[in-house]
């Protein structure tokens, strides 16, 4: 996927400001940034469901082709009707024609998200975390080269956060390109192959965790100080303290979400 000078305006104010970014197969990009930095907006514009200027290689495609190229997992977990978990996951096969019984993509997604025990339960009666996993499985069942996820780990317990991100990184290793917005910088640093740091709509840094989570970036963008260490177990990142807030971040707040 190729984004070139992508911008999204709310009135005169750019919410996403000339972002250029290339997602290669094998990349698992963690999209990070404070609340209101434009993470969701960037992904929605890239998918072509939000009007934008500049170009996205996805949004120029016809809608039905796009559905075979990219799957989207929004942050709002909407399940309107009490479908069974298996039927819900089966919805991911919609872009490919009538849904078959025992579709292998559906079964594979059920196994990947460890939903075997729930597959015949009513989706709306599951706990929030279980619903989140069922919806991730739905996006996996679409089996597209590109997967975009908006805070896929929100409302999951630590074990499920880790296994979800592990699943994503395995999928990337197998050749998919994945972008996920993640608020937990520690998890993002450990599992993503690259991080993309957004601040007030601008792409401030893009690259491996070392190059993005610099003390300088953390101070100016997140107003935090953190411990960063490369160990045998992978990267360990722990935010330590809040620095005195510069006004710029608090001014925008959550309103642009």
């Amino acid at each position: 996927m190729n984004l070139d000078k992508l911008s999204v305006f709310r009135g005169d104010c750019p919410v996403v400001d000339t972002v250029s970014l290339v997602l290669e197969p094998g990349d698992f990009v963690g999209l990070i940034g404070p609340n209101g930095a434009g993470k969701t907006t960037l992904m929605r514009a890239a998918l072509g469901i939000l009007e934008h200027t500049g170009s996205s290689s996805l949004s120029v495609m016809p809608q039905s082709d796009r559905a075979k190229q990219a799957a989207w997992l929004p942050q709002v977990r909407e399940i309107a009707w009490g479908l069974s978990v298996r039927d819900l996951i089966g919805l991911g096969r919609l872009p490919f024609g009538p849904i078959q019984k025992n579709d292998m993509h559906v079964e594979a997604a059920i196994i990947k998200m460890e939903l075997n025990a729930f597959s015949d339960r009513i989706a709306t009666q599951l706990s929030g975390g279980e619903q989140a996993r069922a919806l991730i499985a739905r996006a996996l069942a679409q089996d597209t080269p590109i997967l975009m996820a908006d805070e896929p780990t929100a409302s999951l317990d630590p074990a499920n956060q880790i296994s979800t991100l592990k699943t994503f990184s395995e999928l990337a290793e197998a050749g998919k390109g994945i972008i996920a917005s993640i608020h937990d910088l520690g998890l993002a640093a450990r599992y993503c192959t690259k991080l993309a740091l957004l601040d007030r709509g601008k792409l401030v840094a893009f690259g491996p965790a070392d190059a993005v989570l610099t003390p300088d970036n953390l101070r100016t963008v997140f107003s935090i100080e953190a411990h960063y260490e490369k160990t045998k177990e992978g990267i360990i990142f722990q935010p330590l303290s809040v620095l005195k807030k510069s006004n710029k971040n608090s001014a925008q707040g959550d309103t642009l979400k």
Partner: protein
Amino acid sequence: MRLGLFLIFLVTLLFLCSLLIGHTQAPLSTSLKALISGQGSLGTVMQEIRLPRAILAVLVGGSLGLSGAAMQGYLRNPLAEPGLIGISGSASLGAVLSLQTGFASMFWLALPLSALGMSIFAVFLIILLSGKQGRSLTLILAGIAISALAGAMTSLVLNLSPNPYATAEIVFWMMGSLADRSFDHVWIALPFSVLGAMMILSLGPALNALTLGEDTAQTMGINLVKTRYALVIGVAAMIGATTAVAGAVGFVGLVVPHILRRWVKSQPSSLMWASMLGGAALVLAADILVRLVLPDRDLKLGVVMAILGAPLFLHLIYKTRAELS
């Protein structure tokens, strides 16, 4: 699948019952022979009174059930119903205006045609008001506005009506009925109902995808703008036509999808087929009841429907509440 066969059987059974019940009683075989041959007074009754009445019950019920399931699926709200987008209100206004002005008595089909005309006008208004984006919220708001306007205009006509007979006629018409209809009514309603039903039934995949919300549906290849056009035009065609020939019949579009949802495992696409058949069965049954309970008093279908529908709905709420807790 089994549910489908059961519903088809039920509709067939009720259709036959509807043909057999009325003032002139005759055994099954005699009635059916008369229906086919058309000979004698029984033949006339069967072919020109009971057959169109039963066909209209199927058309009206099927349209209401299907529109209800489609509206609920599209808006992802179990409380949505076909009247929500203001078509039945507008069709009523058209009919009321034609009754009030005397246009209705000028020729046989003046009333249904003016009802239909007004609902077509309402469709344009809705599409104009609800904007180019395919979001459902603007559609609800536009529908509420048009419903309110049509309701107010209907009240105004009643309010200013100088003629108590016209007023009574309007009030009775608005209660909804299938009595004294002919094949002319069938020919008016049939093309619109069938066309609308075809448009709506093609929306199965879109409604299934909308279970996951509008954003996700779009990324699964669903064109929201096209979906909304098809929904509005399809529902309007069905509801406009059925209101034009039968008046306002409530509750069917709300209750039927509710009853059948659990039997189709909540799949919005299957629910549309089931509700279409279920709606037809319910209206056939209610129209039979109308003739059995008070055969001499011209009990109105809409009234019976509401009397049946409201407690049914309360029961469903009670059950849903028990499931939620």
